[in-house]
């Protein structure tokens, strides 16, 4: 072997493994977005449950692009919620404490549900803040 170019590696274009499934996901997102506008009802798509090839994933990511907002959640591992170029369409990736991806969704909502704090948590926060203030004064 004279040079590295002699190693018989055949490079494939990612287009060759596109299955056409990602297009279907994109139209489902469009349907969900229409429903959000009409009824205010949020929707989501579980990306793990779909037979997408790596090329399909890349295609979908490229089509969705990036928006202005990125939310990072530190709760039992990192979660990243990224707004896509389409307002109201979010990419949600949950990782565990060992940084392994445990679930991936496309969420169609004004704000992804997990971001909004629960009423009970705000009640607890209010009580705690009041007792902390008492201790200061």
């Amino acid at each position: 072997m004279r040079s590295i170019n002699d190693i018989p590696i055949h490079v494939l274009s990612p287009d060759e493994t596109l299955t056409g499934q990602a297009e279907a996901v994109l139209s489902e997102i469009a349907d969900l977005l229409g429903r959000l506008l009409e009824t205010g009802e949020a929707g989501s798509i579980d990306l793990r449950s779909l037979p997408l090839s790596p090329a399909d994933r890349d295609w979908l990511n490229a089509k969705l692009g990036r928006g202005e907002v990125e939310i990072v959640l530190e709760a039992g591992g990192r979660s990243v919620l990224t707004e896509t170029a389409y307002a109201g369409v979010w990419k949600v990736q949950h990782c565990d404490t060992e940084e392994r991806v445990v679930s991936e969704f496309i969420e169609v909502a004004y704000i992804p549900a997990i971001v909004r704090p629960a009423g009970a948590d705000i009640e607890n926060a209010y009580e705690k803040l009041q007792s902390d203030l008492k201790q200061i004064s």
């Binding site: 493994t17 090839s53 709760a75 039992g76 392994r100 969420e107």
Partner: protein, 361 residues
């Protein structure tokens, strides 16, 4: 953790936030094939769940099932669920040995009579009155009958416990049978696979904790959430099958392009399991993604079902329909799935004994 404590109490004590729990539930719902919208309802029910006693008996097995489950035992969804059960007897994992461990088993059965979940891995030897496989001087057959009496439900973990598995393969010298061949009066969930997917067992436990009932089962006693569709139905190479694009050898142009492995003996079309979606090795990939066909390990008698490298149409006539459809490259996926399901029993009956030439193909 106290047995009366709920999961929500336990979480708060451990300093886990509500969002962390919601995140776990979203991931659990995903792996249980529930719609993403079910996560909130699940969080509410799971939060109120109590900790059940679990007794795990190993029979004619290779410990592969235990390896599979414990490999997922990290601070994750599975870890959370395992924290939620009281695993009172498990020979491989428990610290006690000998008489101590047998005492632990008797105590757990007595204290939780009628309420514990019994997990069995391995098949049950029935030859020579069960003498082929004994623990502490008692046959598996005897132990199973005793432990099943007080069980609320039984989980037959792995293809051996579910269907007899490799010990039952021809000529079955030990007279190995499945748990369901012995126990007829208790609800049994079969979690087949060699080994089963770790998250399937945690998914079944999560379902039991969330709803207080066992999940909906298919005709072979397997939870539909995980075994409702074939590997083929959810395979990312499926579109190539529909387009009639097949790899003919493991190193040809088609194999490199990731085309369908049907003609190389993939058993995906007749195998019900969740490998294509939940995947293996921390969700890295599954056999087809690594370029090898499915061997059908979650189906009954997979070991005797012809060669792993023989295309499905070869061993049995009824399945020739699949071969014909594939050859002309029609998009008859759904029809083929139905045809496969209907012809599976016929195919089983017609299966030949594996010969060396089958493996060499």
């Amino acid at each position: 953790m106290d047995k009366e404590e709920t999961l929500l109490d336990h979480m708060e004590r451990e300093g886990m936030s509500r969002r962390t729990f919601l995140k776990y539930c979203a991931s659990l719902a995903s792996l249980m094939a529930l719609p993403p919208s079910a996560a909130a309802a699940m969080a509410e029910a799971l939060g109120k769940a109590k900790r059940p006693s679990v007794i795990w008996l190993p029979f004619q097995e290779c410990t592969g099932c235990t390896e599979s489950i414990t490999r997922s035992h990290t601070p994750s969804v599975e870890g959370l669920i395992f924290d939620m059960i009281s695993l009172d007897y498990q020979e491989t994992l428990m610290a006690a040995a000998g008489h101590q461990s047998e005492e632990a088993l008797q105590t757990a059965m007595k204290e939780n009579f009628g309420k514990y979940v019994l997990i069995v891995d391995g098949s049950v030897a029935t030859g020579l009155d069960g003498a082929y496989s004994c623990i502490a001087g008692r046959s598996n057959l005897d132990l199973l009958k005793e432990a099943a009496r007080g069980a609320a439900a039984i989980i037959a973990l792995g293809s051996c416990a579910a269907f007899g598995g490799i010990p039952k393969a021809n000529p079955n010298p030990t007279g190995a049978v499945a748990v369901s061949d012995i126990i007829k009066d208790k609800p049994i969930v079969n979690i087949s696979g060699c080994p089963p997917i770790p998250v399937v067992i945690t998914g079944v436990l999560a379902h039991y904790l969330t709803f207080g009932t066992l999940p909906e089962l298919d005709g072979l006693g397997r939870p539909k959430a995980f075994y409702g569709e074939t590997i083929h139905d959810r395979c990312y190479r499926r579109p190539f099958y529909d387009q009639g694009k097949f790899a003919k050898t493991f190193d040809d142009e088609g194999a490199r392009k990731g085309w369908c492995l049907f003609e190389l003996g993939c058993k995906g079309p007749v195998t019900y399991n969740a490998c294509a979606t939940t995947k293996w090795n921390d969700s890295t990939s599954f056999p087809i993604e690594s370029g090898h066909g499915c061997i059908g390990c979650s189906e009954p008698d997979f070991w005797d079902a012809g060669g792993f490298y023989k295309a499905l149409s070869t061993p049995a006539n009824p399945l020739k329909y699949v071969g014909a459809a594939a050859a002309i490259g029609v998009a008859a996926g759904a029809a083929v799935s139905v045809a496969n399901r209907a012809s599976k029993n016929a195919a089983k009956a017609a299966h030949e004994k594996t010969t060396l030439s089958d493996i060499e193909k």
